[in-house]
């Protein structure tokens, strides 16, 4: 079955340190991968996506993600965390045989401590 996993419910990082939020997927074809961020009582904001091409994708607010086909991963990264990055992060994937529906990870709560 096609699925997305975010193995960490919560990630704690000190301000100024690099951060990584993990995402892995299980797929029977080529995936299209997305990251969204959600601040409290707000909708989801699109950060970045991987469709094809360069495995390193750059997105909004200084975030980037690396697509690794052999490890079936799409981890979200940022070189230097800000307190304002504290939020809920969702990884989502769409497969070639599904032209609209996103399969969502469970979400990872990112806490950046001053």
């Amino acid at each position: 079955a096609q699925s997305v996993a975010q193995p960490e419910d919560q990630v704690n990082v000190a301000e100024g340190n690099p951060l990584t939020v993990k995402c892995t997927y299980s797929v029977s074809g080529n995936p299209y991968l997305f990251w969204y961020v959600q601040y409290p009582n707000r909708g989801l904001q699109f950060l970045l996506k991987y469709i094809t091409g360069d495995n390193l994708v750059k997105g909004s607010y200084g975030f980037e993600a690396e697509f690794n086909k052999s490890q079936t991963s799409f981890h979200l990264k940022k070189p230097s965390a800000l307190v304002s990055d504290s939020a809920l992060y969702f990884c989502a994937v769409r497969f070639m045989d599904s032209n609209y529906q996103l399969i969502w990870g469970a979400g990872t709560k990112l806490i950046i401590k001053p």
Binding site: Y32, G43, F46, K49, Y100
Partner: protein, 114 residues
């Protein structure tokens, strides 16, 4: 700026009293989606419209209905809200529903059922 707008941001209703949530978009996108999100969980797709074509997810309760009178507006009707329907309701849009499409979300409506 082009955007997805949801009204109201907060809605309180009584058990069994019908309620309508509103979504509008200035992106001129063909596809509009309604999601339900509970307690910081992953959003759950209820249904979507591709233009006027309505697509209901198999597990969406009959209590939930939707209308899309024109390209810009989409409504979510909950005919007889139960306590279990208390949630954040998210509207999203995408340009054409293709595999590489990005979904853009509104700020959400938080529904409370008393």
């Amino acid at each position: 700026d082009a955007m997805v707008i949801q009204n109201p941001r907060y809605q309180v209703t009584q058990f069994g009293k019908p309620v309508t949530l509103s979504c509008s978009q200035t992106l001129n996108h063909n596809v509009m989606y309604w999601y339900q999100q509970k307690s910081s969980q992953a959003p759950k797709l209820l249904f979507h419209y591709y233009d006027k074509d309505f697509n209901n997810e198999a597990d969406t309760p009959d209590n939930f209905q939707s209308r899309r009178p024109n390209t810009s507006f989409c409504f979510l009707d909950i005919r007889s809200p139960g306590l279990g329907d208390a949630a954040m309701y998210l509207c999203a849009t995408s340009s054409g529903g293709g595999t590489t499409d990005t979904q853009y979300f509104g700020p959400g409506t938080r529904l409370t059922v008393l």
